[in-house]
């Protein structure tokens, strides 16, 4: 508030002024503004990470150049980026759907592990599907992930148990189950001293592009899922139900939309996608079920950032997943070229999520340059 005693009436007393900017609120932010906010978050993260580089005695500019060369400079490093982007894309697109339907699925990590267990079971105990071996692994992984998502979903719908808590708790259950399996009943006979299952038979090895680690069947499934989700949201009855439910649950009830089946469909799709990511990791990278921390590297959590950066748009997930894939790959480069701990990537991820959430209050603001009065 300012008590301006000047007598001349203000000709263009525009929006709330803040420095050189006018600020107004609006209900429906345009896509370009959402994109700008996301980019600002990325920029702020890069600047602060630069400070961390400086504290490690690295020139931030040269450090970024090194990172860019190490992650994007040649085909083999691009392959690493893509390898990281595959699970992020699968999980990220699932989370976009879940978040849009107001289901805050924090349990993708556990759903990924459930999928990994399912795929491993197929590979280890049913190795005779021939060329169908890998499709069957994907399908079973999808089902296992979906079941892992179904439990917190039904708990929310029937008993109003907060899904943020229950999905998170389900992660720890999944971790413990995997640990028990690799140390107990599924421990490989040939893996003396290691907590691994036996190595998968050849038929269960998901193929990769020549010498890289890019397991293209999973990538194709991920891209197909992105396309499918975009199509479902925009063009189908299920997508329309989902949008009504996500944006006005009262209206959804008024129209008579079956909240239970719609939410279950959405959550199981989301969790199933994470399950497929789990199949990709064990089937293409490790070829066995092993310590849960090695299977996932926190993809289930990082994908939350992927989904948030995409701001509800499934197609954007392709790009945000690759971006976070770069961040992941940068971790290896930091270790090797910059002699910094790879965990720095966790700091980057944390900062990015922090800034993304911090910009949420800005989403409904319209900021423009003040015109001269």
């Amino acid at each position: 508030m300012s008590l301006d005693t000047a007598t001349a009436p203000i000709k263009r007393s525009n929006a709330r002024q803040w420095g050189p900017f006018n600020i107004e609120t609006r209900e429906t932010p345009p896509q370009s503004w959402l994109f700008t906010l996301s980019m600002l978050s990325v920029l702020a993260t890069l600047i602060l990470t630069g400070v961390i580089f400086a504290l490690y005695g690295q020139n931030p500019i040269t450090a970024y150049v090194t990172l860019a060369q190490g992650t994007l400079g040649d085909l083999s490093s691009l392959g690493v980026v893509l390898q990281r982007a595959i699970p992020l894309m699968l999980i990220g697109v699932g989370l976009v759907v879940a978040f849009r339907a107001q289901f805050f699925n924090i349990g993708a990590e556990g759903q990924l592990l459930a999928g990994a267990v399912g795929a491993s079971a197929v590979a280890l105990f049913f190795p005779n599907f021939g060329f169908l071996e890998i499709p069957v692994m994907f399908i079973v992984a999808f089902i296992c992930g979906a079941v892992w998502g179904f439990i917190p979903a039904i708990l929310k719908l029937k008993l109003e148990i907060n899904e943020v808590i229950s999905t998170l708790m389900m992660n720890y259950i999944a971790i413990s189950i995997v640990e028990w399996l690799v140390n107990g009943p599924w421990k490989g006979k040939n893996q003396v001293g290691y907590s691994y299952t036996d190595t998968f038979p050849d038929a269960a090895w998901i193929p990769k592009i020549s010498s890289s680690t890019v397991h293209y069947p999973t990538l194709i499934v991920a891209l197909a899922l992105v396309a499918l989700v975009a199509f479902v949201i925009a063009r189908t009855r299920l997508g329309f139900r989902m949008r009504i439910l996500g944006e006005n649950p009262v209206a959804a009830k008024y129209v008579g939309i079956n909240t239970l089946s719609t939410t279950l469909a959405v959550v199981m799709l989301s969790a199933g996608a994470a399950g497929i990511a789990g199949a990709g990791e064990v089937g293409a990278i490790h070829h066995k079920l092993l310590d849960p921390a090695q299977i996932s590297l926190g993809y289930g959590y990082t994908a939350i950032i992927v989904a948030w950066l995409a701001r509800g748009n499934p197609i954007s997930v392709i790009f945000t997943a690759i971006f976070l894939g770069v961040v992941f790959a940068a971790g290896d480069v930091m270790k090797v070229s910059l002699q910094m701990p790879a965990q720095t990537t966790n700091v980057i991820n944390g900062l990015l999520l922090f800034f993304l959430i911090s910009t949420e209050p800005l989403v409904k603001l319209k900021i423009s340059l003040a015109r001269g009065t």
Binding site: M1, P9, S13, A15, T236, F240, V250, I257
Partner: protein, 517 residues
């Protein structure tokens, strides 16, 4: 205009607040065009105008929600910039919004604590007594410990008024204040306003109800299409002149349906009990029947079970016992979709939060009921062409004023949202129309249109249940009037022999006397 107003001004009095040449432009719409008005201490200033005339946006400018694109605001003679509602409150300007903005999960006292400075620990400690005292003083009774979600719309509004009063508002803006109040509550509100007047405070009342303007205001400013089209003392004008100024045309006369031969029974309730949000039955052993071609008015003071009754019929709330038959089929405790498919249209009380999805387009909202079926759906796929065609014809038939069919519905004015809901709900020729407060908050033109549509549908053979607190409207449209009190029907009176006095007694809880057959 300014000249006309300054003539009335006593030179010694500085207005509490004056708006000078306020202009507010939204994309494609000039909401306010060079609007000036003054609010002096000790007056109730009525702001009149149709929906979309710019009343609410003008008040949002004064309250700091919108920033004007031109013009100035003075408080006590000084030019001020009001950047936020906090600024407005500090300047002694309080707003009671048309739709309450309260934290529904919190209690009344907690909501009020959010608005005032209280102690960090146990913020509601001293507040409850204060709320009760203020409530007593102004006749705004409300239980401080009640959760807001349990309150009726009228009670929630009382909380909003209390909030502004507790903050010590010098100028109180009331946006459509009586639209959710019963006649008695409205009278009480006018007492509050008179008291504020006597204490030298200023009140701005936004309303469509000309009777109220004449009864309670000292001066009137009339807006049309964002401009001031008239400003005068209340004593120097009359209702007809105001109506003409406001709509710029004659207000269409509403007639009754005039249906003499009634059709089949479309709704039959037998011994229906419905539990409210607090778990106790708020509709008790209620039986009634509506036949095709008749309008049954359900009158009563807000919070006597009307909302729960409507929700039970339309499938939004369970019936604890009794039966709901629609067109002869027992549809007790079926979901909203089944009931819609059985030919029931529901015009909801809360049109903004229930009737539409604000972030979806006009076309999508028009398809909200029908998107699961042909022509809007082709198998699992949506047919956008069909949706667009339907939207185009709907906005034409129902005169929905919108920049386009892809405009987000949230951007439409209340009247146009209601027209959209009517277009959608009546598209399938329903045999039963449940209309809850269908004209609440609408301007004269939209009100007449909505009422005419209901009568037309009755003439075409539909049964209409009109739930309204506006006794005048109920009397104007209904063939029979049922009065609800404490969840029961006190009596059903044919319109021809109904008197306001008798209905009033029934609304107060007296059972109907012997009806002459």
């Amino acid at each position: 205009m300014m000249q006309a107003m300054t003539q009335d001004t006593k030179p010694s009095i500085t207005p509490l607040v004056s708006l000078e040449g306020i202009t507010k432009i939204f994309p494609g719409v000039v909401a306010n065009d060079d609007v000036s008005l003054e609010i002096r201490g000790g007056e109730v200033h009525a702001l009149l105008g149709e929906n979309g005339a710019g009343k609410t946006s003008l008040m949002n400018v004064l309250y700091g929600i919108y920033q004007p694109d031109g013009g100035a605001i003075r408080v006590a003679g000084n030019v001020v910039k009001i950047r936020s509602p906090q600024d407005a409150m500090r300047l002694g300007i309080g707003l009671v919004a048309q739709h309450p903005m309260l934290v529904r999960q919190h209690t009344v006292a907690e909501n009020i604590a959010l608005a005032v400075k209280t102690s960090f620990w146990n913020p509601t400690r001293h507040l409850e007594a204060k709320i009760l005292a203020l409530g007593e003083k102004y006749g705004l009774k409300v239980e401080p410990k009640a959760k807001v979600w349990q309150l009726s719309a009228g009670e929630q509004q009382r909380v909003e008024i209390l909030k502004a009063l507790i903050r010590g508002a010098k100028v109180l803006i009331l946006d459509e204040p009586t639209s959710v109040l019963t006649p008695q509550e409205a009278t009480d509100l006018f007492k509050v306003l008179n008291r504020m007047k006597l204490e030298g405070e200023g009140v701005i009342i936004i309303t469509h109800k000309l009777d109220e303007v004449m009864a309670v205001s000292s001066r009137i400013t009339v807006l049309r299409k964002g401009r001031v089209v008239g400003a005068m003392k209340t004593s120097s004008t009359n209702k007809n002149d105001l109506a003409t100024l406001m709509v710029g045309r004659e207000v269409p006369q509403v007639r009754s349906s005039g249906v003499t031969k009634l059709g089949e029974g479309v709704l039959k309730l037998e011994q229906v009990n419905v539990a409210g949000d607090r778990g106790v039955n708020v509709v008790k052993n209620l039986s009634l029947e509506i036949r095709g071609g008749e309008v049954l008015g359900v009158a009563g003071v807000a919070g006597n079970g009307q909302r729960e009754l409507v929700e039970a019929i339309t499938g939004l709330r369970g019936v604890s016992s009794g039966s709901v038959k629609i067109g002869g089929t027992d549809l007790t405790n079926k979901n909203a979709k089944t009931i819609t498919d059985a030919g029931v249209a529901h015009i909801p009380e809360d049109r903004l939060h229930m009737g539409v999805v604000g972030s979806l387009s006009v076309a999508e909202n028009l398809a909200l009921r029908g998107f699961e079926r042909t022509p809007f759906a082709n198998g699992e796929l949506l047919d956008f062409k069909a949706m667009e065609n339907f939207a185009l014809s709907s906005i034409k038939t129902y005169e929905v004023s919108t920049p386009g069919i892809h405009t987000r519905t949230r951007l439409l004015s209340g009247g146009n949202i209601q027209k959209l809901i009517f277009a959608r709900e009546l598209a399938e020729n329903p045999k039963l129309i449940i209309a809850s407060h269908p004209t609440y908050g609408l301007d004269a033109g939209a009100t007449a249109q909505v009422q005419n549509v209901l009568l037309e549908r009755a003439r075409a053979g539909a049964g209409v249940m009109l739930v309204s607190e506006d006794l005048e409207e109920v009397l104007a449209l209904s063939d029979r009037i049922a009065v609800m009190f404490a969840g029961e029907i006190m009596g059903v009176v044919p319109r021809d022999i109904a008197t306001v006095e008798e209905l009033g007694l029934m609304m107060a809880g007296q059972r109907q006397k012997q009806v002459n057959a």
